[in-house]
Subunit: 390 residues, 2 copies
């Protein structure tokens, strides 16, 4: 069975890029990844682009072809994949399977979203398309409302507190201080979160990830070949994906995320590992409650204990299992289609020991967890450093 | 190397489905395909959905998860793929690679577009997102205009006539008469086409494919397993894909389609076949000129000779190489994200000898050619009947 490794990474600064277009952002990340991999454009055999809603954000579909064109990669096959905010994760998985299939040895995977070309109201409607527009968005349930229902259910079931939710945000803002590519460089306290305005109770402004422009890219390569050309390839040792009902009413309950649990289980089984073997994780904290749901679904802590686990510092950079050392979606920013790829970029940087001030000590195996909508899609990838060229 | 076959197909009637939703259409096609394959929902391990612009047509992204949900297939991985009007072709190719990768044995592939929930003006803008919205659509160049430029270039270079373009439409309408799932059941003459209104000179109303609602689905299975469970599996013997510049100005010329040529060449090389070996083809005739460009790019006739070749009846149902016996996009209809999958459905029906009045005699090997935008994406698939269960 063929194995797949990442041999190059690229990522733009995340933020509000009023002066950069969709094309410029993806070119910046893509060229950085190609150069970082030490390959040339002509070495790349296929391309997958993760993007959620370019149609409604910039009036443009067919962005797979656009990216290949912009990077001068024609005539290679170029395909956009979309699973809402998990678009980056499924793009990574598509590239991974394309190499495993034997069709290609070297594949580029990009993720991008240019979100600030429309107003916040239009962005909220576009993002609402990640849920069920008929039974949720049409009735006013945009994403803060959906995650607020999940937060409330978790609080009712397990006694999770608003302060524990706030602890997620405080940690991720603190980590983002150490990431030069993060959108926010501003430490916050639990008190700051608690006094920020309610968006959808119990979620407040500082419980919510921002609207972000950004792009990320990785170059994938069949592992044996990767070992020849790359000093420090990062092997994707497992890729899991699962789905759940699109809308919340179909779920068995709102205090756990089934798709994430199934995707994580699939990945752990494939890699013959357990959550205990993971040294750090990038998880999908689009809202603070989402990180708590994620660490429970993956199995870093017991079900229902994600709040205290976070509050006790166990997910901090120097904790038991560092979570979102990049700053996560809350601190680093959340350009939705880019997020899943940016998580893989962070995993590589950590496993290559190049994360500087936010370096996780003795990082050997990393995990990335990416979610679409309110959990209708989840991907889980596991990474480890492979022996490279001397 | 693992091989992939189609074991079941489903397709809705194509047309204006005012009384059916996106969900209903994909459920209809999906359930038909599952039943036709003789498998159950629980046998399906992953799903790929081809869809171009659900965000702008029905306000909904994340339709991979929606389809899995609607068909009761959770928690399997479900992914939307998009390459404009080639979304169906790339979805088929994604399913094909997922099985080749060894990750899955049985995968569902759907294609769908619900286009009539918005007005024609909004539909034209949504479809314009398949081209370059910055350098083409913004300046008024919607799709009829882009293909008109290509038609004019072909006429200038090769002497192709408007009557020859019309011959494509006449043939495809004639074929559609024999397809109960086609949108149009109305024979037309060259004179009818010639006197229809100009949309973008030289293209007239009857040179253009319609706005259509519809869905199609196939069930893919690893070929050895397919032979055990299916009476007549249809093997996908090759899958090619290529890209070109998103906008027309970047192309070397406008009278040929490079991506289609590269994708076809890749498919023929993989299958060790030539255009002469093909018994019938479904090609992407979004406009009449597109079919002429397609048959030249694939190599069914000499470059520049597609007009006379068609006029002489060589692509007719009883001709040298029957093209679009289903009625094609012009006669059968063009629900953009569904088209590439519907082409595969037609290939299966023909190779299984079940096409009744439109059956191609002695059909052994079929080809499907799907295009995104003005040719920035092209996929070419080759199919042949595999030995099945007795």
């Amino acid at each position: 069975m063929r194995s797949v490794s990442i041999i190059g990474t690229g990522c733009t600064v995340f933020g509000e890029h009023w002066n950069k277009s969709f094309r410029q952002l993806i070119a910046e990340a893509g060229i950085e990844a190609i150069q970082n991999a030490g390959v040339e454009g002509k070495d790349i055999e296929a391309l997958y682009g993760g993007n959620m809603a370019s149609g409604r954000f910039i009036g443009q579909e067919h962005v797979g072809a656009l990216i290949a064109d912009q990077l001068g990669l024609n005539p290679i096959p170029a395909t956009r994949v979309e699973d809402a905010c998990a678009s980056g994760g499924v793009a990574l998985r598509s590239g991974y399977m394309a190499i495993k299939s034997g069709e290609y040895d070297v594949v580029a995977v990009g993720g991008i979203e240019k979100m600030t070309d429309v107003g916040t109201d239009q962005a909220a409607i576009a993002l609402g398309g990640a849920g069920d527009q008929e039974t949720e968005l049409f009735h006013g349930a945009s994403f803060p409302a959906l995650y607020a229902l999940m937060a409330r259910a978790h609080m009712n079931k397990f006694g999770t507190t608003e302060e524990q939710l706030a602890a997620v945000s405080v940690k991720n803002h603190k980590n983002a201080m150490l990431n030069p590519k993060a959108q926010f460089h501003r430490e916050i306290t639990v008190a700051d979160v608690m006094k920020s305005s309610y968006i959808a109770s119990p979620l407040k402004l500082l419980d919510c990830s921002p609207i972000t422009d950004g792009a990320a890219a990785v170059i994938l390569c069949e592992t044996e070949k990767a070992k020849e050309i790359c000093e420090q390839p990062i092997e994707i040792i497992a890729s899991g994906q699962a789905s759940d009902t699109l809308a919340l009413p179909g779920r068995k309950n709102l205090y756990e995320t089934m798709a994430a649990r199934v995707a994580a289980k699939a990945a752990f089984e494939k890699a013959k590992l357990t959550p205990k073997d993971i040294d750090f994780a990038e998880v999908h904290d689009c809202f603070t409650i989402a990180e708590i749901l994620a660490i429970e679904a993956i199995g870093f802590c017991e079900k229902g204990k994600g709040g205290p686990f976070t509050e006790q510092g166990k997910t901090a950079l120097d904790g038991e299992i560092p979570v979102n050392v990049s700053g996560g979606l809350k601190g680093k920013g959340h350009p939705v289609g880019a997020t899943g790829v940016a998580q893989a970029v962070e995993a590589c940087i950590q496993l290559q020991g190049k994360a500087e001030k936010r370096q996780v000590k003795d990082a050997k195996i990393g995990l990335a967890h990416n979610v679409g909508g309110s959990g209708a899609t989840a991907t889980v990838h596991l990474f480890k450093a492979a022996e490279g060229r001397k």
